[in-house]
């Protein structure tokens, strides 16, 4: 393995993280709060590590699959570690493990928190907490790719390892330009939502923080009651619902829209399935909850918001859905295993995988009736190769295995089954809140240290789509063959 190259890219990545710490620093200086030292120290420490790393002389700049996987996994761990320092230094989260959990939760856009009272924390710290969603949403390495001078071929490997979905395709020939286009769309959506929330009466600060939580499909808020604190304004709730759904769409579709190829968007099988699932779930929950809220519109509003929040794996809440009927809760629990579209900022299994799995089942049924039938699996009128189908089935299986093993281990804590399973589903799927003891009004602070580390690992598993990390856990990855 080309260790120098890996270290150098990691160095550039950390330099980047130092840059991302400047906006929260500016905010804490502006408000003259005590957390500014925390940011300054963190930036100094990061620079002390990253500058020598990025200046390493290079023999060759080739990046093969192995290097790319190491860069992605180690990169995420390092960024999470250094990103947790401001919480520790400022005293907001005194425990290192807790701070790491919170940062991983932020970067992986999970939104699971261990902080009991958010509202007392300084503004810079809260801004940083939500900003990690925005950085992690599209992928911090993709961001680095977009700006760093030519990483070249290896860039595609990194992109494939970091971006969610079974098939990662470039939009344009150069990796760098693809990354730029994706980030332009991301930035565009961010700006529009911030402006819309600002006009809805939020302060610019709160508008920004909640936009980061929405477009990154994260879920950190500045309020203890999450978005429930804005229940007075249906406008704000509808805007956030809309943008949550928009962030769960494959970002390459925005490029298609920009190019005016609307047909490709409307005919996209994943997009249609995604929209249908949302529509049906909202309909069922609205009917099921009839009478719980003051009007049908209120019921619709809350069910839309909760469905959008869970399926896109955001984790914002306007209502304590733990109090809902069990049918509605079952729907939400099922949605935790759906997730957004491939190439979006959403987590979990992803709609495209489920669509393909359903087609696979359909094929099996057809083959029972017509044993010799040739039934190819097609998505958007294009054949899905057997390799992709195989990788999806093994992904699905591995996802369930990790979910089961995780639930077993968390159960050792002595918490209830629903708590244990929903905590694992909510962290593995990068959602955030689960049910009962990890429900919308609760936090993850009561878990023991080993469980917090396990759940952090779950979040990373989910964000980097299992295999990226799994490969690195295999002993023969580290043996030079």
């Amino acid at each position: 393995m080309n260790y120098r190259r890996v270290l150098k890219v990691l160095g550039s990545l950390l330099l980047f993280e130092a840059l991302t710490l400047i906006p929260p620093l500016a905010i804490s200086i502006y408000h003259n709060q005590h957390d500014r030292q925390a940011f300054l120290y963190t930036i100094a420490i990061i620079l002390a590590f990253s500058i020598p790393m990025s200046l390493l002389p290079q023999k060759s700049n080739r990046i093969k699959a192995k290097e790319a996987l190491s860069i992605v996994t180690l990169g995420w761990l390092l960024v999470a570690f250094f990103g947790s320092l401001p919480f520790v230094f400022s005293g907001s989260i005194p425990s290192v493990i807790d701070a790491f959990f919170e940062t991983v939760s932020g970067l992986t856009t999970t939104g699971a928190t261990i902080i009991e009272d958010i509202e007392v924390l300084p503004r810079g710290i809260l801004f940083w907490r939500s900003f990690t969603h925005w950085i992690g949403g599209m992928g911090i390495l993709v961001l680095t790719l977009a700006i760093l001078p030519t990483i070249g071929v290896g860039g595609f490997q990194i992109f494939k390892a970091e971006s969610p979905g079974p098939i990662s395709d470039k939009l344009v020939p150069k990796m760098k330009d693809t990354a730029k286009i994706l980030y332009s769309a991301y930035l565009g959506i961010t700006v529009i939502q911030t402006v819309m929330l600002y006009f809805g009466g939020l302060s610019l600060y709160e508008a920004l923080v909640h936009t980061f939580g929405t477009v990154g499909t994260g879920g950190f808020s500045t309020r203890n009651a999450s978005i429930g604190a804005f229940n007075y304004s249906s406008y704000i709730i509808m805007v956030i619902s809309f943008f949550m759904i928009a962030s769960g769409v494959n970002f390459s579709l925005y490029y298609e829209m920009y190019k005016g190829r609307w047909r490709n968007v409307l005919k996209n099988s994943e997009f249609r399935a995604y929209m249908s699932i949302i529509f049906i779930s909202v309909l069922l929950i609205t009917v099921n909850l009839n009478g719980l809220y003051s009007s049908v519109f209120e019921t619709f509003k809350h069910s839309l918001f909760q469905v959008a929040s869970i399926i896109t794996t955001t984790g914002y809440t306007t209502a304590d859905f733990d109090q809902w009927n069990s049918f509605s809760k079952a729907i939400l629990f099922t949605l935790m295993f759906v997730g957004g579209c491939a190439g979006s900022t959403g987590g979990s299994i992803k709609v495209i995988r489920l669509v393909i799995l359903f087609k696979l089942v359909k094929r099996e049924i057809k083959k029972i009736l017509h044993p010799n039938a040739y039934v190819p699996i097609q998505i958007n009128k294009k054949m899905v190769s057997n390799d992709v189908v195989a990788s999806i089935t093994s992904f699905f299986f591995l996802y369930l295995v990790i979910f089961a093993v995780g639930t077993l281990l968390i159960s050792l804590e002595g918490v209830g089954f629903i708590t244990a399973s929903s905590a694992v589903a909510a962290t593995l799927g990068n959602i955030g809140p689960g049910f009962e003891m990890v429900g919308p009004t609760m936090t993850y602070s009561h878990f023991s240290i080993p469980s917090k580390l396990l759940l952090s690992l779950m979040m990373l598993f989910g964000r980097l789509e299992l295999f990226t990390i799994f490969v690195m856990l295999m002993p023969n990855f580290w043996i030079n063959e």
Binding site: G152, V153, F156, Q157, K170, L171, V172, K174, K180, I181
Partner: protein, 468 residues
């Protein structure tokens, strides 16, 4: 530049690799998933699984904004159709691979009426390259640059007297020549004064032709010129046909051995004065009966690299002075040097070199690829205001993989040292490792510099790629 390549075979891959190094956007189209996967894993470009002959596919790829389309599918007719269609749709330049000799006489028609700008014919180019080497009569293999003023020759260290085990700085070199590279076990090494030569090495030397000859005489390499009068070609395929025709036209007596009876009939009909023998080239008795040891040259052009390589060993064993083998797969190139064949010709490299030369137009005068494309030797005319102008070479801080082998100023050849200065309009013979090709741009072509320029450029690139 926006480049579309149709066909992801050996040539398509090589072209994609060469084009994607520079500031180009490359899209490669093929119907085979496996071939596309291979390309996308190694090269930064966009792969599209589709049939390039379909109008809708070409339109969707934005062929009207394309600067270049190269069609290298396996069928000549498909290539022609794709190119003509692309041209009609507004593609600026189109290149087709057309290899069938039947079309050979109507190339002008194809170029003018079908509006195909450049026709790549690997077999014809291979034949040309072999003819050039055979007829020049030089004892060593040389490549010409700057209209023959500068040459690059390669020597096998074990064929030279007393060279092995010496360090470069200990070599006595009377006339100025430059050892630009050493190929050792299939790898290109950029040497410095302390590099020790081993007997497995091949050295690449750049200099004026007379000086190279002096060098070769001094170290005891063969210098006598020997004209080829009798040649045996094994394999009467397209390349064999073209070669035979060229050699016959220059008065060489040619013997072709071809397995397929139908093909023999065709060769006899189309070639005058060639002796065509139907038989298996691997049949040793047959080759002996046909007096292989009397031949001045043996050329192996069968369709199998392995056969060509083994037969060339046989040729060497029977004392044929010039043995040339066609080897299409780049994987074999590292082994070839150890086999003692005089020249291994790779049609893919030659064709890719030809296409690059055509596309680069004014910027690059000639390109030749070494060792399966591990390195390239380019002839560049130094543009005004580029970074290399007016600075002593030692101050220029060129990357290690880029070496200026010779500077030609108004016909005067200089082998540069650290104090040499390049003036605008000088012809430069530049040796460059594949890994450094992208830096060439920075030193030799780009005029401005700095972060701002870089940013500006990247935004331009973005807009350009967004318009695809």
């Amino acid at each position: 530049m926006y480049v579309i390549i149709v066909g992801a075979g050996k040539l398509g891959y090589k072209l994609a690799e060469s084009f994607s190094h520079v500031n180009n956007n490359v899209v490669i189209v093929d119907t085979d998933n496996g071939a596309l996967q291979r390309v996308s894993n190694h090269i930064d470009l966009l792969t599209v699984k589709a049939n390039g002959v379909k109008l809708s596919v070409l339109e969707e790829l934005g062929v009207k904004n394309a600067d270049l389309l190269i069609s290298v599918t396996s069928s000549d007719e498909t290539n022609m159709l794709i190119c003509t269609t692309a041209k009609k749709l507004g593609c600026k330049r189109v290149i087709a691979r057309i290899r069938n000799p039947e079309y050979g006489n109507q190339m002008d028609f194809v170029k003018n009426k079908l509006e195909i700008d450049y026709i790549a014919n690997p077999e014809l180019e291979t034949a040309k390259e072999i003819t050039k080497y055979l007829l020049k009569g030089d004892a060593i293999h040389m490549e010409d640059f700057a209209r023959g003023k500068v040459v690059m020759a390669d020597f096998r260290v074990n064929s030279l007297n007393n060279m092995k085990g010496k360090k470069l700085k200990e070599l006595e070199i009377s006339k100025p020549v430059l050892i630009v590279a050493i190929s050792r076990d299939g790898e290109m090494i950029i040497p410095h004064g302390d590099t020790e030569l081993t007997q497995r090495d091949i050295i690449y030397v750049i200099g004026e032709k007379e000086n190279i000859n002096t060098f070769s005489k001094f170290w005891g390499a063969p210098v006598e010129r020997k004209h080829v009068k009798k040649a045996m070609i094994l394999g009467g395929g397209k390349a064999g046909f073209y070669l035979a025709r060229k050699l016959i036209a220059s008065g060489v007596s040619v013997k072709i051995i071809e397995r397929n009876k139908e093909r023999c009939k065709y060769l006899v009909e189309e070639l005058n004065n060639a002796l065509v023998i139907q038989g298996d080239a691997t049949d040793q008795q047959l080759i002996l009966d046909e007096n292989i040891s009397d031949m001045d040259a043996l050329i192996l052009l069968t369709g199998y690299d392995e056969e060509n390589l083994l037969l060339s060993l046989l040729g060497k064993k029977y004392g044929v002075s010039k043995v040339i083998a066609k080897v299409s797969r780049p994987n074999y190139i590292p082994i070839i040097e150890q086999l003692g064949i005089d020249v291994a010709i790779n049609p893919i490299m030659i064709t890719a070199g030809g296409i690059l030369r055509y596309v680069q137009g004014g910027k690059v005068e000639s390109i030749s690829m070494l060792l399966g494309g591990q390195a390239e030797v380019l002839e560049i005319i130094a543009p005004n205001n580029s970074k290399v102008i007016g600075v002593p070479l030692s101050k220029l801080e060129l990357p290690k993989g880029i070496i200026i082998g010779a500077i030609v100023d108004n016909g005067k050849v200089t082998i540069p040292n650290g104090n040499s200065i390049i003036n605008p309009g000088n012809r430069l013979v530049v040796f460059c490792l594949q890994s450094e090709i992208s830096s060439l741009d920075k030193y030799f072509y780009r005029t401005k510099g700095g972060l701002l320029d870089e940013l500006q450029k990247s935004f331009k690139g973005l807009r350009k790629s967004a318009s695809i």
